[in-house]
């Protein structure tokens, strides 16, 4: 029996094992929506704005490792997804975005709700397709899922004109696809792996630096085995948090702009560095000219273009992080005795002195709630086992610094693109994937308003997310930079005329709470988390003057961190 293109789209999703489709209907997508109506295997989640659909699919993908899927209509449906697609692209998240298009004969006519979807999405996708013939549809869908999920993952757009969704053909979903132009390599070159191992064993001041690739590549077991076997100091980027448990004694915390003092100093002074799925982003390296002057670097990455892009690398290894690490571990295991333990112990002593500075220490306040306390309390209440989705800004950094992540895929945030508005919709995707898990959205009064409409979607699907709004009435990170670098000229960073978030949450059908006094924080949070089956929006009024420390300012190196007020003197005294 022949099927319509619309039925084929839905059958492909079923055969691909897709649980959720995040979308929003419209004219050009109606045949597909009709096909969805006739089945219940693929569950459609109706968002309130297409940006929310992409972030929700993205959150689902980050938490599960499976591709997130989106369906939108042509024109504005597509343009509204761009931020979400670019967000997924920057963080290498597998996602397939199905976009309806005006009928083939109208393409190029400036038809109603027409945009050049392939053209407009091209710079922020891994690949995209325009389906010209219903006979190509099933194979294109298969290719889209294959490309999105393999190699360095990323978003793939499939643009489907409306007439194609009405045309009939035989349905045949390919088991696999073979593309001569796309064959990602997963296994490391054995000679390079051996060279990497030799270099690692020769280290006197080593550092293991892991990134988002360690999480995306499911390399956590291999990474932990490497770290524990070598007992080398280890650090992680914002995107890699959780691959090494925060409680691992070899873990120094996050590195980079708001990383710990000991991580950044160890990066600067090391003699051998191994980068695992990390791309030497500018927020990680600080000023490149000052980056790790004595390091000999091994870099593992599945994307050859990430290797040596910003920093020259002595041993490049192209391959899947997990597979390459397993290759290395096999060679390392019988040779661990070659490590110069005396030298490494000395290095650890040095690191211990840096660590004694306690660069994440902060001052509490009797009158006002300081945001770091909130994140620490969340960690205690959820025993470090929640999925934490964040927006972008100060609260994001505090969440990364103070919520001790013990597992990978628990920390969901937009690291590369830095997309405000990501938090709430991404939390929806995570909560749908894991209905019984505790899912927190740590956000701020500015970020939450960028996708707040999705509170309505949360009600429709009964998603009991805990939204923790760190409300300082500022775009906090902007305010911080203006304080430091613009002589306290707070240009347009003050959020005047904020809504009453409690009433807002209530009008969306949720529970709203507000807490202003430090003494009431614990009770409020406990009450919120006790409401297991409801979305609770906790508006936490925080001290607006608190800044994120420590910090590497623009143009500075890892060894030139700006510490919290009062700590500079401690540093002089302790480390003299």
């Amino acid at each position: 029996m022949q099927l319509t293109g619309a039925d084929i789209v839905v059958r492909c999703l079923q055969d691909e094992g897709i649980e959720f489709l995040f979308g929003y209907p419209g004219g050009a997508a109606l045949h597909i929506y009709d096909a969805l109506y006739k089945q219940d295997q693929v569950k459609h989640i109706l968002v309130r704005h297409e940006q929310g659909a992409t972030h929700a699919a993205d959150g689902y993908a980050r938490a599960t490792g499976k591709p997130g899927v989106v369906l939108v209509t042509s024109g504005p449906g597509v343009t509204n997804t761009i931020t979400g697609i670019a967000t997924a692209y920057m963080d290498s998240i597998p996602m397939v975005v199905l976009t309806a298009q005006v009928p083939s004969h109208l393409i190029g006519d400036d038809a109603f709700q027409e945009v050049d979807t392939v053209g407009i999405t091209r710079p922020c996708v891994k690949h995209n397709f325009l389906v010209n013939d219903v006979d190509d549809l099933a194979e294109t869908m298969k290719k889209a899922f294959y490309i999105a999920s393999s190699g360095r993952p990323g978003p793939v757009v499939v643009d489907i004109p409306k007439d194609i969704t009405a045309n009939l053909t035989d349905y045949n979903y390919p088991e696999s696809v073979d593309m001569r132009s796309y064959q990602p390599r997963t296994r490391g070159h054995s000679k390079q792996v051996k060279r990497g191992v030799d270099l690692l064993l020769s280290a006197r001041k080593p550092i293991i630096y892991t990134g988002g690739g360690a999480v995306i590549g499911n390399a956590e077991d291999a990474v932990q085995k490497l770290v524990n076997m070598l007992s080398y100091p280890s650090t992680s980027t914002l995107m890699g948090l959780g691959a090494i448990p925060a409680s691992n004694k070899n873990f120094l915390g996050m590195l980079g702009m708001h990383g710990t003092y000991e991580s950044n100093m160890a990066m600067h002074d090391c003699d051998v560095m191994i980068a695992v799925g990390a791309r030497f982003d500018d927020r990680v390296t600080g000023e490149l000219a000052k980056f790790s002057p004595s390091a000999r670097i091994v870099q593992i990455d599945i994307d050859p273009s990430s290797i040596g892009k910003n920093v020259p690398v002595e041993v490049p290894i192209v391959g899947d992080c997990q597979e390459v690490l397993e290759q290395m571990i096999e060679l390392l295991e019988p040779r661990v005795d070659e490590i110069d333990r005396a030298a490494v112990n000395q290095w650890w002593e040095q690191i211990g002195r840096w660590k004694s500075l306690d660069s994440l220490a902060y001052k509490t306040n009797e009158e006002k709630i300081v945001p770091q306390v909130v994140v620490e309390r969340l960690g205690e209440i959820t025993k470090g086992d929640a999925y934490v989705c964040s927006d972008v800004g100060q609260h994001q950094m505090w969440a990364a610094q103070y919520y001790a992540f013990e597992k990978p895929r628990r920390w969901i945030n937009s690291g590369g693109l830095g997309t405000m508005g990501f938090g709430l919709p991404s939390a929806m995707g995570v909560q749908l994937a894991y209905p019984d898990a505790t899912v927190i959205c740590i956000t701020g009064d500015a970020s939450i308003q960028m996708c707040i409409q999705e509170l309505s979607c949360c009600l429709q699907y009964g998603l009991p997310i805990k939204v923790i709004n760190l409300n300082n009435q500022y775009m906090g990170m902007v305010r911080q930079w203006q304080e430091f670098f613009y002589d306290r000229r707070y240009s347009h960073s003050y959020m005047d005329a904020l809504p009453d978030f409690v009433k807002l949450a209530e009008s969306y059908g949720h529970i709203g709470m507000r807490v202003e006094k430090p003494a009431e924080l614990d009770a409020t949070l406990e009450e919120a988390f006790a409401l297991k089956d409801r979305l609770v929006f906790v508006d936490v009024i925080t001290d607006p003057t608190v800044n994120v420390y420590p910090m590497i300012a623009a143009g500075k190196g890892h060894h030139e961190m700006h510490l919290a007020p009062g700590q500079e003197e401690v540093k002089e005294r302790e480390l003299a």
Binding site: R122, P123, L130, I147, M179, S181, S305
Partner: protein, 164 residues
């Protein structure tokens, strides 16, 4: 340094814009770009003349390889190679003296006159970039009406080849 990168890519709509978009998005320089289908109609061959430091060229080749439509590529300038460019020039050729002078120059450069009117000649010239440039220089005494250059096409010398 000037480099010639030869790319074999799927002959599909949009493949060219992916390459062009990559160069503009990442701020790489394109001196010329030519593309046409090969003997295998499913493949196109593109010749890109670009420039930059070694690390930029390394990034360019890696980023091109990353495009899903790109099957294979080589940097022709890494080995012995041949490059050719086609130029068509329309010049004013009125009066026997001027017509003789243009014809002589065309002969010296081993070009051809491919169209003649009472007042113009249209010339065809093939060669590497330097030769084509030199020919335009040589025409300095002649009034040029228009110049059309194809951009460079390149191929490896000897057995060196780029095939799928």
């Amino acid at each position: 340094m000037r480099r010639i990168i030869s790319v074999l890519l799927e002959n599909e709509a949009g493949a060219l814009s992916r390459v062009a978009g990559l160069f503009s998005a990442r701020g790489y320089n394109i001196e010329s770009l030519t593309v046409a289908p090969t003997d295998d109609p499913s493949l196109s061959r593109m010749t890109i003349v670009t420039g930059g430091t070694d690390s930029i060229i390394e990034q360019i080749t890696k980023q091109l390889n990353k495009l899903v439509d790109v099957v294979k590529l080589i940097d022709l300038t890494e080995g012995q190679h041949i490059e050719r460019e086609l130029m068509l020039v329309k010049v004013v050729a009125a009066g026997s003296e001027q017509r003789e002078e243009v014809k002589r120059l065309v002969d010296i450069f081993r070009g051809r006159i491919i169209d003649v009117t009472e007042s113009t000649y249209t010339l065809e010239m093939t060669g590497n970039g330097d030769k084509v440039d030199a020919f335009v220089q040589a025409l300095s005494q002649v009034e040029i009406i228009e110049v059309v250059r194809s951009g460079v096409s390149g191929i490896g010398r000897g057995k060196r080849a780029l095939s799928a």
